[in-house]
Homo-oligomer: 303 residues x 2
Amino acid sequence: MNFTVTPLGSGAAAPALGRHCSGQLVNIGGCRLLIDCGEGTQEQLRRYHQRMQAIEAIFISHLHGDHVFGLPGLLSSMHLFGRKEPLDVFSPPGLADAVRLFFAASATTLQYELRMHEVDTEAEQTVFENAKCRVRTFPLYHSVPTVGYVVSESDPQPGLRVGVREQFGLAADQIESIKRGADYTDSQGTVHPNAELLAPPRKAKSYAYCCDTAYNEAIARAAAGADLICVESTFANGMEQLAAELRHCTAAQAATIAAEADAKQLMLTHFSARYKSLDELLQQAQTLFPNTLLAEEGKTVAV
Amino acid sequence: MNFTVTPLGSGAAAPALGRHCSGQLVNIGGCRLLIDCGEGTQEQLRRYHQRMQAIEAIFISHLHGDHVFGLPGLLSSMHLFGRKEPLDVFSPPGLADAVRLFFAASATTLQYELRMHEVDTEAEQTVFENAKCRVRTFPLYHSVPTVGYVVSESDPQPGLRVGVREQFGLAADQIESIKRGADYTDSQGTVHPNAELLAPPRKAKSYAYCCDTAYNEAIARAAAGADLICVESTFANGMEQLAAELRHCTAAQAATIAAEADAKQLMLTHFSARYKSLDELLQQAQTLFPNTLLAEEGKTVAV
């Protein structure tokens, strides 16, 4: 299954140095999810040829402006450009009233159903699920209530063990029956138990988004085994004290989380405007977790 | 006195075709005023090298998203980048609560004083005045309560008539005294009345911003004599019916307003995304009002 992440914004706090506010488009088997929606996200979607109307749900990590001030505009443009499909928006508590007041002030009645959901910021929770994916929250450690999101494939369908189809000359309906759990009785009357026919399903792939947050060892447990983990790296090494005060991570802390989570690949994002070049942050993370890349706006990464 | 307007956004409804949401920076003798603040305005300010912290006050025409969704982000960035000076924001009623809820949701306490003012949308009103300029509102005719803004120079200081200084050999303190209204008694004891010494003050220059609005003849009266008038031209000619339904102007209607106001120059803005090229709108307006130009983002126009 196609499973990709396209960063739309990689900057911290405010647009600067050509980097935009936080936003990422996740495409999992054609199901498109938006994570965070800083100011300018609708324009970034357009710039990178991502159709806003194809977005099925939006997930907000926390209510700092650089993660959410693009939401009213995106919701409004979806309306203006004719959206009819309902839209689910998940966020920590407090967003719905502000958004609704903005729309009330401009006498805007959305022509689609906007379903705002408050997520629990203290406990893990599966908040979204369809045939292609599920999305689970977990607590992060920032200056306001914040959650991370794990997007995983829905349980991959088991397939026949290699050679089974040919061995018994199975027809399509027989294969479907076995995939649904049935045993198979061959022409000699021998019953072959389902477990001998089906291969164990492969592990569902997952993407973990951890932004914004200070370092905390619990993050690795929540994101364990992620094929791709995105951890904020607002600061370079040497800025640990400011990072702790502002509840952000350094590059080394991001790499430590990725290593502890036993993730396959790490993507850094949410870079402070003090860093014109990001080479330093990349190198510092790679020292601890070699398979690290920088979030580049518009550059799609496979999970 | 330097008096210019820099369009930051010239599109209608949503960013498209490289055109951004509404916003204009007015610079009048170094006093910088922002009119409207659609999503992306803070980034447009940066793109065109206009310091956000130099803005002394913000004027919102109406609460449709494309004129106001950039405000929380701009206010937030002013805070993050260290603003200490108070900021006045003028708008039709209903904006303050939505902005405050957004900041409350993110536990943001601005480190400068934000003074939100509600303007009367039914009557003309002088809302802002300092040594350099004054700003007056007037009603517009849109689908929600909307005001236009006239920015004018404060009353220009009168100067001495040509030759008076040399004729009497006036010192600086004598000139100041005459400018404050005193007569002058020469060495022979002859009294020269003030009116014979001072030239009549020149007319204060003014800029009128009319966006969004349907055509209404009252607009020309409110903006009468503007050196530059900016009128929205969402649609080309032939779209009068849709323009009337949506309470917008066509190019010809914009030109009619400029002509009726006896303005010196017309700037068109707020172009529908249906027009990739704007030549048609410009030509249609110029047929009725030759001294017309299109708002071009980042291109500063002298008033």
